[in-house]
């Protein structure tokens, strides 16, 4: 079985902060990491190959530094890594990204047929979750998003069975390969790479493909191939502040003050809430 994982380098958004004095983003010292959902996807792919045989190829579209996330996946046990890097890919929205990635997958598949593609369910910097389905649609693969468990692969019937997390519960669904999955965090538990694996991952070559190697239509790539554009950015809207009750030394008093004001000013709202038939007692 040949599995391709698409991984993305993202800024560690948990570190991005707003400077309260200037109300601007503080980005210095923010590290780049591998999108956590993608690492889970790569780990799941490696586990599948350990069980059913085959190989895992990881690909990433990004600047030259994105090589590091590919090495992270190699350390988990992925076999090959290809970096898609070209000025022409820059500024891509999800439509252009899925185009570039699917071009690469087709090119890989021409030499070495692909049975499964696994992506993270979304990237934590954009949170759109559109790239995986975009790739599946372009390649004509069956698509299973939000997968929390791979229940089995049947090589004879050429099918895969997965569990998907959807509204209200989980769906168990079976479909033909080739297929594309997008991974929930529960899909796998990432291993600690062993020292030999780490050393191997550092020695391995990561191939780099640019727009020339991919072929395809230049007008579909990067900024040119992106129908959406940012018109403007601004700080999130804020609601005006209200009344402040500082409990200081005497919280008893202040809580009473607050409740008096609250019950007086919001009488209508609270009467509706608190007098609903036995509402307060029913629990």
């Amino acid at each position: 079985m040949h599995i391709i994982c698409c991984v993305k380098q993202v800024p560690d958004t948990t570190q991005v902060k707003i400077d309260p004095a200037t109300n601007t983003l503080v980005r210095t010292g923010v590290e780049s990491i591998c999108n956590p959902y993608d690492l889970v996807a790569a780990e799941a792919a490696v586990q599948l190959v350990e069980k059913y045989g085959g190989k895992v190829t990881v690909i990433s579209m990004g600047p030259p530094q994105a090589e590091s996330v590919l090495r992270e996946c190699l350390a988990l046990g992925a076999h090959e890594a290809i970096l898609l890097s070209d000025r022409a890919f820059g500024g891509a929205d999800t439509l252009a990204t899925s185009y570039t990635l699917s071009q690469a997958i087709s090119r890989i598949a021409a030499k070495d047929p692909v049975h499964l593609v696994i992506c993270g369910k979304q990237a934590v910097d954009g949170d759109t979750g559109q790239t995986g389905p975009g790739i599946a649609t372009r390649l004509g693969f069956n698509q299973f998003t939000y997968v929390s468990e791979i229940m089995g692969v049947d090589p004879e019937r050429n099918t895969i069975t997965v569990k998907r997390e959807i509204e209200g519960g989980a769906e168990v669904i079976e479909g033909k390969l080739p297929a594309l999955l997008t991974a929930e965090l529960e899909l796998s538990t990432i291993r600690y790479a062993s020292l030999p694996e780490l050393v191997r991952s550092l020695r391995q070559t990561v191939r780099v493909w640019g727009a020339k190697e991919l072929g395809g239509l230049p007008e579909r790539l990067g900024l040119k191939g992106s129908p959406t554009s940012v018109k403007e950015i601004f700080a999130p809207p804020v609601r005006g502040g209200g009344l402040v009750f500082d409990s200081g030394q005497n919280s008893e008093r202040v809580v009473k003050d607050f409740l008096d004001t609250f019950f007086e000013k919001e009488k209508r709202l609270l009467d509706g809430l608190l007098t609903k038939d036995g509402h307060a007692q029913e629990h």
Partner: protein
């Protein structure tokens, strides 16, 4: 104006304004721009002073004054025939013969946008036996509902639904298509946008219209939620956007409203045997009990500063007293104290309760985008400068361990009076 050693006038990044979107990196024809430690840098000696980075920067973060040639967008792009696309379509999500609430919320929003464009609101409804849903769609505000009623659409399958919806778009040619950002809707919208080769903006929190250019202004939190961005889809139609449940207001239903229902056929060929098969559905235990924080009228939302299992009964008591339920911020989910279905915010649920009580919640932007629709916000926090305290209608400054027991007592005695 900065110059380099060669005396050439060069572009410079204004670090305070830069949002590290990296658009300029892709645009620079000579690779003079790159990311270093999370910040974007222009190499002054390499910069040729062409000013293209200035053209693409969405944040006005590039200092460059030399008169720049006119922006060259559109070259190499086929002019897209946008004429002939009219109407605002809403994908109507149906389960077991009823429409999803988020679809009606979007129909309500679509009506508002349709006024500004002087056009119609269209419902796009694939499914099985969905005629009653079509009538409901009209009651909520659709002028025309297009239906694909086919047994193959009994359960959601990406490709089948994708084909049905893309087909409707190709036939009807709406200028805008709105989709509820449920797991089904997000999956479907991505498929359809790819098939139609158009732009899709996920999880918009605001939608508006530029009537002169008939453009949809799609606003969403971006770059990890710290900033809002307004996004356009200029040259492709339909302009597509997904919106989460509860972000838009549910319109009033008017069963007397008139509208038209039209049906389309679904072209299915030999593929039918190849479609995936749904084997089982396992309801999530926690949701069987009916916890749905989006429906609660009062939410007691606990944050990292109150993430203490010993105090959970106290928070539940306060919530129940007011007829509400307990929700939380992301770190509380990460700690394992409460499940993800109780999380409020960008990666949790959007809520709009009558009363939101934040206990030791700082009010990070990612949290705020999920609760700004609350009618009244109460914040309990030791820190006066916490962002949630700044926006709260009522802020109680102090240790929640001191405050909440007193709140419970006080409310109990006042409830007796009301009854």
């Amino acid at each position: 104006m900065p110059k380099n050693i060669k005396g050439r006038e060069i572009a410079e990044i204004i670090p305070d304004k830069c949002i590290a979107c990296q658009l300029c990196i892709g645009e620079c024809p000579i690779n003079a721009i790159d990311m270093q430690g999370g910040a974007v840098r222009i190499d002054p000696e390499a910069c040729a002073g062409c000013g293209r980075c200035l053209d693409v920067c969405p944040a006005n973060a590039i200092l460059f004054e030399k008169p720049v040639r006119k922006k060259m967008t559109g070259i190499g792009q086929k002019p897209h025939p946008l004429e002939g696309y009219r109407g605002i379509a809403v994908f109507i999500e149906a389960h077991d013969g009823t429409g999803a609430e988020v679809s009606w919320e979007l129909v309500g929003k679509a009506r508002e946008l349709a006024e500004k464009l002087e056009t119609q609101v269209l419902g796009f409804l694939p499914g099985t036996d969905v005629e009653p849903v079509a009538r409901e769609a009209i009651a909520y505000g659709c002028d025309t509902v297009y239906m694909v009623d086919n047994p193959l659409l009994q359960k959601y399958l990406s490709r089948m639904y994708g084909r049905a919806l893309a087909h409707m778009c190709n036939q009807v040619k709406p200028e805008i298509l709105l989709v509820g950002a449920t797991s089904l809707g997000r999956d479907l919208a991505s498929v359809v946008a790819t098939q139609l080769e158009t732009g899709l903006t996920a999880d918009c929190t605001g939608l508006d219209i530029n009537p002169q250019e008939r453009l949809l202004l799609m606003t969403r939190p971006t770059f990890g939620g710290n900033i809002m961005a307004t996004i356009l889809c200029r040259n492709h139609r339909p302009q597509m956007s997904t919106v989460r449940p509860k972000v838009m207001k549910l319109p009033k239903k008017d069963t007397g409203r008139r509208g038209e229902i039209r049906t389309f056929d679904l072209e299915t060929s030999q593929e039918v045997v190849q479609v995936p098969r749904i084997i089982d559905f396992i309801p999530r235990a926690a949701e069987v009990g009916g916890v749905d924080i989006t429906r609660a009228e009062v939410l007691v939302v606990i944050g990292k500063g109150a993430c203490d299992p010993r105090h959970l009964p106290m928070f539940e008591e306060l919530a129940m007293l007011m007829g509400g339920t307990v929700a939380c911020s992301r770190p509380v989910v990460q700690s394992g104290l409460l499940p993800h279905i109780r999380q409020v915010g960008q990666t949790g649920k959007t809520v709009a309760p009558k009363v939101y009580i934040g206990v030791a919640v700082s009010g990070a932007v990612q949290h705020l985008v999920g609760m700004q629709g609350a009618e009244k916000i109460v914040a309990i926090n030791i820190a006066r400068q916490a962002p949630l305290v700044q926006i709260a209608d009522y802020a109680l400054i102090g240790d929640y361990r001191e405050i909440i027991p007193k709140l419970i007592k006080g409310i109990e005695s006042r409830i007796k009076v009301i009854r």
